[in-house]
């Protein structure tokens, strides 16, 4: 079987600066990949490649066997650490947005029956992330945790093939972070998601992931720090037993 995502000798260079080198790996459907590594190692760059926000300098990235185009599409959902939701839309409007884009190319707005259906769908999705009582609230009135819940609901309404998370809980309080761990684990199981999550918290990486990738430089030239790039130096499969999952959900 072909992997969902497959990196073939991928390099990313900005001018003289090599950020990623020789990245070759596959991501299986249904896996939960945690990505860790020191700051500046290219974790976000790796995510941006999958997202299609930029393309590799060399090498190839395949999704379901076909090369990715360097443009974002609706088969990949994303949640950033910040700015993932639209400040001018309420929670409900933020989620309905995706359905409006799909069904109304010209106006980006739905009316009548189509609108009611979209609102019902979005409301259900918001309920799944625990925001059923905050439908009419603007992001500025929400806590950081609520905004990230909203961003997840917004991404999931499109049923993406892969969900990309870039330090999604980095700015949250420890207690809220635990809640979010439970939420993401539950959604991952219930929706059969494939997730790639960047985090700087190694415990979080092992707790949530079925696989932990560590990005770092294999070689260092002391006279030219930009000469060599980072790659996946460790690739660890994590046995996530059902008991562990239940523990995360119970927290």
């Amino acid at each position: 079987m072909t992997a969902l995502l497959s990196f073939r000798d991928v390099w990313v260079e900005y001018g003289d600066k090599v950020v990623l080198e020789r990245v070759t790996l596959d991501v299986e459907q249904g896996s939960f990949v945690s990505v860790v590594g020191p700051s500046g190692a290219g974790k976000s760059t790796f995510l941006r490649l999958i997202l299609g926000q930029e393309g590799p300098s060399h090498g190839q990235i395949l999704m379901d066997g076909t090369p990715l185009t360097p443009e974002c599409g609706p088969d990949r959902g994303v949640v950033f650490q910040r700015y993932s939701v639209f400040p001018h839309l309420t929670a409900l409007q933020n989620v309905v947005f995706a359905l409006e884009c799909e069904q109304s190319p010209l106006l980006g707005k739905l009316f009548g029956r189509a609108r009611r259906d979209a609102i019902a769908k979005a409301t259900e999705m918001l309920g799944a992330v625990g925001l059923e009582h905050n439908l009419q609230v603007y992001p500025a009135q929400m806590s950081g945790g609520m905004q990230q819940r909203l961003a997840i609901a917004q991404a999931l309404i499109k049923h993406p093939r892969v969900l990309l998370l870039d330090e999604p809980f980095g700015a949250l309080d420890p207690g809220i972070r635990l809640d979010m761990h439970g939420l993401v684990t539950r959604l991952w199981r219930e929706h059969g998601l494939t997730i790639v999550m960047v985090t700087h918290d190694i415990k979080e990486a092992f707790k949530l992931g079925t696989r932990v990738l560590t990005f770092d430089k294999r070689r260092i030239d002391p006279h030219a720090p930009n000469r060599y790039g980072a790659t996946a130096v460790y690739d660890i499969a994590v046995k996530r037993k059902d008991g562990d999952v239940a523990a995360v959900l119970a927290e």
Binding site: C72, P74, V78, F80, R82, F97, A98, P105, A140, A155
Partner: protein, 271 residues
């Protein structure tokens, strides 16, 4: 306690805010009364009574030569020029600001050109406008539009292109086309900023209006002030200045009100 940490309460704020205004008015009353006593025909600092009389004539009496109430005719003419000029500037700002702010290739094509336009002092092109468009309404309206549009366009382009790139990425992962991205993400976030820069541009807009009217016109608030200046008629000029200021304050309050009502999220308010 450090003075930077003292935060006056609302009542005190109103009181302290009123003090300088009261002092200025009282000082003016005292000085103008003294001058009137020394010379009853003094024109430079008319008393409040003299100004009220002049204002009464201007604002309520029909001028037998024109058959109109002077201040009314002036206000209608000036506000008409101002609103058309400002409307042209606002609409072009919205279109260009969105196009340049959202589309990098438009920005690299037209951005430098607009930057050059923005450094030209608008009053310097007034003679060109007079030559090209004549001395009628068109050149005055054009001066206002040309005078404020480059600043507003640059401001809006900066705002739109400076919106977090995460928003554009997110919208595209949600299936938005370029058009939907502009319509649903950039346009709504551009509008409150547009109102904000319009509020800042109203001051310059009045300056351009009054300048154009002072140079070539036969009706209008600016025309009137510069006309009666020849007779040192401060008793007419000052009420006109107060009237213009009042119009400016009301316009500003109206714009702010519209922005708060239409875009509560931009003011940190709930729906």
């Amino acid at each position: 306690m450090r003075i930077v940490n003292i935060r006056p309460q609302r009542g005190i704020r109103i009181l302290t805010g009123a003090i300088p205004i009261a002092i200025a008015l009282i000082a003016y009353a005292v000085v103008s009364a003294a001058r009137a006593e020394a010379n009853p025909h003094d024109k430079v600092l008319p008393t409040f009574l003299a100004m009220a009389e002049a204002a009464w004539r201007l604002f309520s009496q029909v001028d037998p030569r024109t058959g109109e109430v002077t201040a009314y005719a002036d206000t209608v003419a000036s506000l008409w020029r101002l609103s058309i000029g400002v409307a042209i500037a606002t609409v072009s700002t919205l279109l260009l600001g969105l196009a340049l702010g959202a589309v990098p290739i438009f920005r690299s094509t037209l951005g430098p050109f607009i930057t050059i336009l923005a450094v030209i002092p608008p009053i310097a092109v007034l003679p060109i406008l007079f030559i090209a468009l004549g001395l009628g309404e068109a050149s005055k309206i054009a001066l206002i539009a040309v005078g404020i549009a480059p600043f507003m366009i640059r401001d809006l382009v900066g705002h739109v292109s400076g919106l977090p790139v995460e928003q554009a990425i997110k919208a595209q992962t949600l299936g938005a086309s370029s058009w939907q991205l502009i319509l649903r993400v950039y346009l709504p976030q551009a509008l409150p900023r547009l109102i904000e820069s319009l509020r800042l541009s109203m001051g310059p807009a009045w300056v351009f209006l009054i300048s154009a009217e002072a140079i070539a016109s036969d009706v209008g608030l600016g025309y009137r002030i510069f006309l009666v200046r020849r007779y040192l008629a401060m008793d007419m000029i000052l009420p006109y200045v107060a009237w213009i200021s009042l119009l400016a304050i009301l316009t500003d309050a109206a714009l702010q009100w519209v922005s708060r009502k239409a875009f509560p999220w931009a003011h940190g308010e709930a729906k």
